[in-house]
C-alpha cells in the first residue's frame, strides 16, 4: 500500500450517511482524488456525463479535465495509456463502460498491466485500477450483462475484487487505488442504485482489509459463498430459509484474486456443506476454484460435495431470458436442498 488509507479521511466529514453503492463509489473516488493528486480517472464519458452509470458524476467539474479524462473510444488505449501514466508515477483509475467492452483492452491488461512488475523484477510498479460494471439483471442488450471475472482471476499479476454493499464500495475503491498492484474492480451494476441496499457508511473507519473475505450472515446448516451481485441473492435466500427453520451462513468473498478462503474453510468445517453462487458460467470459473480448494482442505468435514448455483455454460442469453440464466433465490435454495439431502 502506498499510503495508509485511514490518514486520508477528512476528520470534519460526517462519519455516517445513508448511501447507495453507486453514490458510495462516487464518494470513495472523490476521497481518493482529494487525498492524492496523482489519482486520475480515465474512460469513455466519465467527464461531463459522469459515466453512463453516473459513478464519476461531478468529478470532472471539481478536479478538471486533466484529472478526469474523457478518452477517445478505445479500451486498449485506455488501459495502455494508464500503464504509461502509472510508470510515470500516476495512479490511474480506468472505467470500462460495460464488462463486455473490456476485451479490446484485454491484451494490454494481460500482456502489460499484469506482467510489468514481474518482468522488471519489481522496478516498475503499475498501480492501476480498472473499474468494471458487471453482471446481469438489468434487461440490457448483448455485451451488457456478462461476468468475465474468472478470465482475469486466471492471470497472475492481477488482483481482482468485487464489492456488494455501500460501505465496502466506499472503502474498497480507495484501498484498491492505494494498492501498488493492478486491481480489477468488479462493480455489481444492478445494485448501483438499489435503494434497498442503502446503508450508513462510516467514512471514518474502513470496514476491513481489501483482500479478505467476510462472513456476512451466520448459520449452521450450510454455507453459501458468493461475491458482487450474488451476495444479495444469497442473503435473501438465507432469510427465506430461516423462515423455514433452516440456518444458512453467507460469506461475501470480496476478493476473487487472491482468493481468501480461510473463512470459507472454517465455515465449512462447522456446517459441512457449501454452495458456491455466481452469475458467471460454471466451467473453469471462480466457483470451480472454490470447489477444488474446499474439497482439498475440508474433505473430512464435508457432508456433501460442494455444489454450485451459477449461470449456464452458454453465452449470456437475450435478456428476456435472463431470469432463467441468473441463479436466483429459488435456484440457490434448490441447490441448498440438494446439498442437505445428500
Amino acid at each position: 500500500m502506498a499510503a495508509p488509507v485511514q490518514s486520508r479521511v477528512d476528520s470534519a466529514a460526517p462519519t455516517a450517511q445513508k448511501l447507495t453503492i453507486g453514490k458510495a463509489l462516487n464518494m470513495g473516488l472523490r476521497a481518493a482524488m482529494e487525498a492524492d493528486d496523482k489519482v486520475v480517472i480515465l474512460g469513455e464519458d466519465v467527464g461531463k456525463l459522469g459515466g453512463v452509470f453516473r459513478i464519476t458524476d461531478g468529478l470532472q467539474k471539481d478536479f478538471g479535465e486533466q484529472r478526469v479524462l474523457d478518452t477517445p473510444l478505445a479500451e486498449s488505449g485506455i488501459i495502455g495509456t494508464a500503464v504509461g501514466l502509472a510508470v510515470r508515477g500516476f495512479r490511474p483509475v480506468c472505467e470500462i463502460q460495460f464488462e463486455g467492452f473490456i476485451f479490446p483492452g484485454f491484451d494490454q491488461i494481460s500482456s502489460q498491466l499484469a506482467k510489468l512488475h514481474y518482468r522488471t523484477q519489481g522496478k516498475i510498479k503499475v498501480p492501476v485500477v480498472v473499474r468494471v460494471p458487471f453482471g446481469g439483471g438489468i434487461g440490457a442488450v448483448e455485451h451488457h450483462s456478462e461476468s468475465p471475472e474468472s478470465l482475469f482471476a486466471h492471470i497472475p499479476g492481477l488482483k481482482v475484487v468485487s464489492c456488494s454493499n455501500p460501505t465496502d464500495a466506499y472503502w474498497m475503491i480507495q484501498q484498491a487505488i492505494a494498492c501498488d498492484d493492478p486491481v480489477l474492480f468488479f462493480e455489481p451494476k444492478r445494485l448501483y442504485h438499489n435503494g434497498q441496499l442503502k446503508s450508513e457508511v462510516d467514512t471514518s473507519q474502513p470496514a476491513g482489509p481489501l483482500f479478505a473475505s467476510r462472513v456476512v450472515r451466520q448459520g449452521t446448516d450450510c454455507t453459501l459463498v458468493a461475491y458482487g451481485p450474488s451476495v444479495k441473492v444469497c442473503l435473501d435466500a438465507a432469510a427465506a430459509a430461516a423462515d423455514e427453520g433452516r440456518s444458512l451462513e453467507v460469506i461475501d468473498l470480496r476478493t476473487i484474486s487472491p482468493l481468501d478462503l480461510g473463512p470459507v474453510f472454517e465455515s465449512v468445517r462447522r456446517t459441512g456443506r457449501l454452495v458456491a453462487v455466481s452469475e458467471a458460467s460454471a466451467e473453469s470459473s471462480v466457483t470451480s476454484e472454490i470447489a477444488a480448494r474446499v474439497q482439498q482442505e475440508c474433505f473430512y468435514s464435508l457432508e456433501a460435495p460442494v455444489l454450485r448455483a451459477t449461470g449456464f455454460d452458454t453465452p449470456y442469453p437475450p435478456s428476456k431470458l435472463e431470469e432463467h440464466f441468473l441463479p436466483d433465490l429459488d435456484r440457490v435454495l434448490h441447490t441448498v436442498d440438494r446439498a442437505m439431502g445428500w
Binding site: D45, K48, L73, P317
Partner: protein
Amino acid sequence: MPSPEQWTHPEPGEGPAAQAAQPSREQVIAGLRNTDAGGAEVTQLLTPEGERIASPQFDRYISDIDPEALRGLYRDMVLVRRADREANAMQRQGQLGIWVPLLGQEAAQVGSGRALKPQDMAFPSYREHGVAYTRGVDFKELLGIFRCTDHSGWDFKAHGFHPYTIVIGNQVLNAAGYAMGQKFEGRVGNTDGDGNPSSTDEATIVYFGDGATSQGDVHEGFVWAAVYDAPLVFFCQNNQWAISEPTERQSRLPLYQRARGYGFPGIRVDGNDVLACLAVTRWALEECRHGNGPVLIEAFTYRMDAHTTTDDPTRYRLSDELEVWKHKDPIERVRVHLARNGHADQAWFDQIQSEADAFAADLREFCFNMPEPPPERVFANVYAEPSPVLDAQRDEYLSYLAGFVEAGER
C-alpha cells in the same frame, strides 16, 4: 483562420516557420466542427434549401435518378424515420428495452444503402436501421434485439446484411475479411466489353461511427483492406457525438483525411444529402468492383436525438446545436426540391405520410404481440455441433422448472 486542409499536410522540408503556424487547439476544434456544412471539401448535390448543385465528378452516378426515383428515396426516408420514431415511442412505453435512434441519419443510410447491389454485403454497427430497410430486412426483424428476445434474427445471406455489432469497431475487421474473400474468389475487376465492372462483381460496405475511428480494430481494418486491395467501402457516419464525446475527442483531423495515411482515397460527403450519399457511395463501390478499393467515406451528419433511449444529451450537448441541424434536415430538402419543381403535390406527400403511419402501426402491432422465447432457447445454438454437456444442463433445468409447475407455483 486556415482551413484544416491547409495545415494538416505540411509539405516535407517546411521549416520551423511552418511549425509555428500550427493551429491552436481551438482552431483544430473549429476546423472539425465550425463548418456546419461540413467544410470546403464536402460533396453536396442537394442543398438544405432543396437546390440541386451540378457536380462534374458525381452527376453521372445519379443520372438514373429521375423524379420518380427521387420520390422513391423520399418515401424510403419518410418510412424509415416514421418507424424509428415509433420504436422510440414504444421504448418509452416499456415495449422495448432500449432503442437506438437514427433521427437525422436517414439520408446517409438510405443513400448509401440504395447504392448497393444485391450481391454486395453490408456490415452494420447497431444504428443502421435505414440500411437494413434498404437491404430488404423487415423493420420488424430488428425489434427482437431491442425487445431483448433475440440477439439477431434475419437471414444475413439472403439480405446481404450482417448481424448488428455492438462492440465498437469489431465489424470493421470482419468486413475487411469478407471483402478479402470476395477478392480471393475473383469477384472484382472483371470488366465487360465497355470497361465497366461486370454485373456479378461484388463489394462490401462497413458502417461505423466517428467514435469508432479511435478503436484499434478500425485502424487494423484500414491496414488490412489497404494491403490486400480489398473491395471495401468504409462508411463512417460522423454524427458529431460518441455518446457524450464530440468528434474532436477522437481526432485532430477531419476523419476522411485519415484515409491518405493508409493509402486509399477518403472523401467527405454531406450526410444529410441523400443524392450525394447515393452518388459518392456508388462511385466508391465502383472503385471497389474495379479492384481499386478500399475507399473511406465520411458522411458528415448529425443525430437529432439521444445516443440511445438511456442517454441524457442535455448533460453535454447544447440545444442550439440541434436547432442548427434541424435546418439541414435530410428529408425536408428533398420535399422542398420535389415540391418546388412540381414533381410532387400535397396529395402525394399526404399519401406517403399515411403509408408511413400504416407502416408504423403494423410495426407496433407486431411488437406488442411478439412471443416470449421459451427457456430452452437459453441453451440452443451455443455450438454448431451437438453438445451433450449442454443438453444435460438444459434437461436438468427444465425438470427443475417443471417442479414449480407441479407445485402450482409458476
